[in-house]
């Protein structure tokens, strides 16, 4: 299961997905969003839709000093909050900047593929899709 950016060219930049993501985290505003819509160099260039794309061998999980990020068999990572020390190393490891930060709790915020945001995209830019991701085991990280 992963959230797929179907067509970023259709994104109008309304950020309804970002607000939706915060709401599913039982919060309001933009404080808890795990998806980011930013202009691709000014609005005239369109938008980048930034969210976890469920790497097969996620660098964020690999670099975590406390093994707080578990690689899920179905794709993506799961944060074990009690293990996380809030060092932010995972944020730096994600080269597409898909790890957001929860300022209130000083922990990373990572998409967990609930698909709630997609319900609020009026233009079908994002979709929750089932994909068969075969994840190699034994990469030095714990698996779910």
């Amino acid at each position: 299961m992963r959230l797929e950016v179907v067509d970023a060219e259709k994104c109008v930049g309304c950020q309804s997905c970002m607000f939706a993501c915060t709401r599913i985290h039982k919060d309001t505003g933009l404080s808890k969003t795990c998806i980011g819509i930013r202009s691709a160099g000014g609005m005239q260039r369109g938008f980048m839709v930034i969210t976890c794309i469920a790497c097969e061998d996620p660098p964020c999980a690999r670099v975590c000093p406390e093994n707080a990020l578990l690689v899920r068999k179905v794709g993506g990572v799961l944060l074990k909050k009690e293990k996380c020390i809030g060092c932010g190393t995972c944020v730096k490891a994600c080269i597409i900047n898909a790890i957001f930060w929860d300022e209130d709790n000083n922990k990373p915020l990572i998409c967990f593929y609930c698909g709630y945001c997609a319900k609020y995209c009026p233009y079908g830019v994002i979709e929750l899709r089932k994909t068969d991701i075969e994840i190699e085991k034994g990469m030095g990280v714990q698996h779910e």
């Binding site: 109008v12 930049g13 309304c14 950020q15 505003g29 933009l30 808890k32 160099g41 369109g46």
Partner: protein
Amino acid sequence: MNKQESLSKVLYIDLAKRHFYKEIRDDLFGKYIGGAGVALQLLKEECPQGIDPYSPENPIIFSVGHLTGLFPMASKTVAMFKSPHTGNLGESHAGGRSAISIRMAGYGAIVIKGASVRPCYVAIHGDKVYFRDASTLWGMKSSITAGRFIRAKESSSGFRTIMRIGPAGEKMLPFSCVTTETFRHFGRLGLGAVFGSKKLKAVVVSGKRSLPVSEMKEYSKLYDLIFKTATESPLMKKYHEIGTPMNVLALNMSNGLPTRNLKEGTFESAEKISGEKIAEGYLGKRLACAHCPVACIHIAALREPYHDEPFFYKTTMIGYDYELLYAVGSMLGGSDVDGLLKILDRIEAYGLDCMSTGVVLAWMTEAMERGIISEKETNGLRLNWGDYPSYIEAVKMMVEQQNDFYKALSRGVDYVSSVYGGQDFALSFGGNEMPGYHTGPAAHAGWLAGARHSHLDNAGYAVDKKLMLNKELLPDELADAIIAEEIWRQILSSLVICFFAREIYTPQIVLEAMKISGLELTEEKLGRVAEEIYAEKYRFKIREGFSFNKLRIPKRIFETPSSAGLIDENYLHSLLNSIEQKINARL
């Protein structure tokens, strides 16, 4: 959830002292809601009576509302200042990401005071305010380029707004605008010039936080209802398909499309500049303001060859909407869409208010036609209806302030016609150039009497429709309709709800949404607040010298038949008298 983040926090910035501080103003946000209501009170506090709009004492106030960041389409920022264009109340609204960013940075309002010694821009990242040097950006030919440099320099992409001025604002041309997110504007009444007078190139605001709601479940329920109505009901369709440019043909058909400086109310080439045609040939992208799923912003893609270099092209993305197609389209008798888009792009780069620019060019063309001015004044330039290369040249000379004539022109048609003549066809109302609705007496009365002399004050054009259906309406009845609309809009603009969403945000929905966001009022109380904000605006206007007696009514509007037929001068006067009495009764 962090509930301490209250809307009542006001950020004060002093550009002269490079100092900032915050105050909790529950007094204002409780009584006047937010947005326009609160901005007006802050203006009253900060703006001394009778000051020169270019003096450092003229404050710039930005304000947002209780629903911003919580509910869709509460996405406007209200700016207030003393207008250098009219010398009176300056109020301008813009969307983009401005409102969300201000709220997410933790503020209900921002007050900018004083003037910087050298060009600067202010970056507000949450709690922190940075005073950045902008000497290098000052003097750049295009506001678009300056925006790009700031974008590259500042953090928080996707969570920020960049409000900036262009060369017109730097040079303090009285109808220059402030542009946000490339395509949205605090367009009218000269906020750009006030920025310029403070040597303030831009304001960047960013943030990301939680907002208080009374009850999460109720909140989600109401959110979904509003969101669903915005995306699925036919109410918003007109804004997101062809968009406001749909009005070109509609108004043209009813004789209400101001053409060639309102010498006519229909344009023989309206079809060519219609929203339908432009969508077909040019629409390249649609955009939305933050937290609005409607995406009413229409962007045309213009592909142009370089004539001196084979196989070299550029593609420019240019925003357009109805008011722009009227102001530099039909008003200038222009039907060449390429030319029209090119002038829009120049106006964007200079940072001018497009509506005022179109109207001054239309006046200038007619003044030349009548021999009131000649090539002697215009630096050798001959203007003819629809001739975009000459219009582009005229705008350039105006921004460069090439001679006394262009200096006068840049002050608007009221002023330039007071110097050179041609007042009868100088189409401004309360000092502000006319919008694109020659629909009947209510539209014109609405601009003359409206608090900011804008078609958005009271939608007089919609009131004219009633007149088109029933010719027997008394001026008194129209006056009531105009005032009732303007009063209700005080609530919408104090909650910074986009006026396009006014049919979704009925009083009932507004009250429910306010309750969830922590401000519980009865419908009756809401009505009283609306009345009070409305009255406060006129108290401020009168304090600054506004009087119905001083309003100049251009003769032209009585000469060209409108959608409601030829406008009777006496009828319009009775209508204005009635509005004046009704306003006075409220003060």
